[in-house]
Subunit: 186 residues, 4 copies
Amino acid sequence: MPRPGRPAGPAPDTSTVVLTAALELLLTEGAAALTPQRLHTATGVSRTTIYRHWPTPHALLCDLIEVAPARTHVPSGDVRRDLHSEVDLLCDRLRDKPVGGFLQALVAAASVDPDTAELRRRYVEDLLAPFHAALAHTAPDEAARTDAAMSIAAPLLVDALLLGRPAHRDRAHRTVDEVLERVPRT
Amino acid sequence: MPRPGRPAGPAPDTSTVVLTAALELLLTEGAAALTPQRLHTATGVSRTTIYRHWPTPHALLCDLIEVAPARTHVPSGDVRRDLHSEVDLLCDRLRDKPVGGFLQALVAAASVDPDTAELRRRYVEDLLAPFHAALAHTAPDEAARTDAAMSIAAPLLVDALLLGRPAHRDRAHRTVDEVLERVPRT
Amino acid sequence: MPRPGRPAGPAPDTSTVVLTAALELLLTEGAAALTPQRLHTATGVSRTTIYRHWPTPHALLCDLIEVAPARTHVPSGDVRRDLHSEVDLLCDRLRDKPVGGFLQALVAAASVDPDTAELRRRYVEDLLAPFHAALAHTAPDEAARTDAAMSIAAPLLVDALLLGRPAHRDRAHRTVDEVLERVPRT
Amino acid sequence: MPRPGRPAGPAPDTSTVVLTAALELLLTEGAAALTPQRLHTATGVSRTTIYRHWPTPHALLCDLIEVAPARTHVPSGDVRRDLHSEVDLLCDRLRDKPVGGFLQALVAAASVDPDTAELRRRYVEDLLAPFHAALAHTAPDEAARTDAAMSIAAPLLVDALLLGRPAHRDRAHRTVDEVLERVPRT
DNA sequence: ATTTAACCGAGACGGTACGTCCCGTCTTTAC
DNA sequence: GTAAAGACGGGACGTACCGTCTCGGTTAAAT
């Protein structure tokens, strides 16, 4: 039963203009720059409008995380090859701003707003998911597979986020091989 | 040639009062709360004085990082036992505020001020150092030892910082054993 | 020749609902509260509709001044008695919100919008009119009658509006008598 | 016992600049224009500073009422002459902005903020005071003197404030004479 | 004991951003 | 055509910090 009146929510234009500018800002200047004021000066959309639709930083990040470029999907062949290509993919994504910057921003935002911590968790798990998927049909138990995925991916995240250096790609490839030695292949 | 007049620098009292309050603030409310204003209301030391001695947030963090409780040193016995105890120690430290919170705050601060990124790197490397040390006399080459240390410690950091959950202690212990299987012991 | 379509102007419901709410608002919260926004939240009538029918605050006050309770008319007997009863009536009206508040609000509104000054003038003259009427057949010249009316009524208005105290009824009655001593009766 | 630190309160410069601009604004554009924003654009003094020292409109009016040009004092000779000259003086003051505008502003401000009503009362009583003073040694009782003062002055105030027309000087002079006929002179 | 340089506190001041509120206009939809 | 719902830009509001500054009083060394 449609009520009268203009449909709620931002007009499509407004939404895309603001969100793309937000992503841009986030990646070029970090999470701290992601303020209504900055979005206003960057887009020309009035501060009022921005507050109307995204009253909290969290609301913005929520919308943003869906706009952010989805990871390129890899259908998969055999386990080893899949893992290696996932390693390369993750390294690339961490190097290029879109993922590394986003993650950095999420961590910073989560340190202020506890609600955002949940977003951060989901985002990180999405990054780890491909490794779990690739390992799906290998190890006997769930725990072992999680161990393996973490061993491979965690060092890359630490490189990029905590040590501020490029993800150490070769080491990750070596780790893949070592992991597979211990794991019965299908 | 000592000039006359009162020696420069904050009086010892002022310094300790401010720095302990700063640490407290950092850990309970995050890096964003670490402002002269907040320090003033927390300590009663006047804003003017704080600005005088720590003109930038970075300066404060610099002094702070030296005050922060140094890690308890473990003089080593054999490799396996050392690694296991380092794992336990790191897990404990990440669970307790002083380290986990400090790290979180550093990451957030670094996302605003690039200078602080260096502090963050040093702090993380200090966390990883014990693992390097424990492995010092094992693997043939430097790279292999770094790989090993990262495999063990990185997943713990990712748990604590990015997934917001307690560091997965058992997995780390398993990883220690797996790593040692591959590494020729001395 | 009635044109097709719905007749112009607000539906009777809308009009009365809005105007009564407007009067209520004006008297309880003053002229500054008389905004479309407030009327909307008070009545449920949509902001759009209110803007359509009363584009300016002035338009609202115009309609409102006609809705406002008209003074109770006193068909006269002799001059003295009429004047005394008019004094009592004016004192009562100034004490009760509907007139005292309305006048207060008009003065405030006029200080913002010059157009409203005209409304204010008309309203005040309506308050003074009964005194002129009662004196109609007394004094020789127009000027003397106006003097007399003002001497009686003005102090009451000053009491209520400028000194924020109840109109000084007794004094006004005394003034009536003094005035009549000087004025030849018909 | 002087506490350390800079003396509290606005610097003399700031104070005079703001208050003179405030008076100017009040008289040329009315009470509604007397906002921190307007004062800022008019004086260049920052909005923050203005809020610091005059947090409410009431605070501003308080300071302003003391800056506002004090009435020219008339030492007095005989009663009749004093009253006539006071009438002329009041008419002049009501005609020239400084008093008429100020009063208008006070009435408008008081209709929003009850605290300001007190200021308004004091201001009006200051306007009436000279008439009381002139009559001081005439009538037998206090009440009669108050009656007389109000009969003379109130119509002038009503003219200027409520009817928006120049104060009716001649009528007031006539009233003075009528009043004095009834009052035993010293 | 003076000098002298620095500390320290209180607060003014300009500036920027915040988040809120209301305004007046408009667009979209339903009746 | 009325009415409702709501987007949108604009402006002011009052608040909170920021970083700098100007005052005044205090303290601790070196002479």
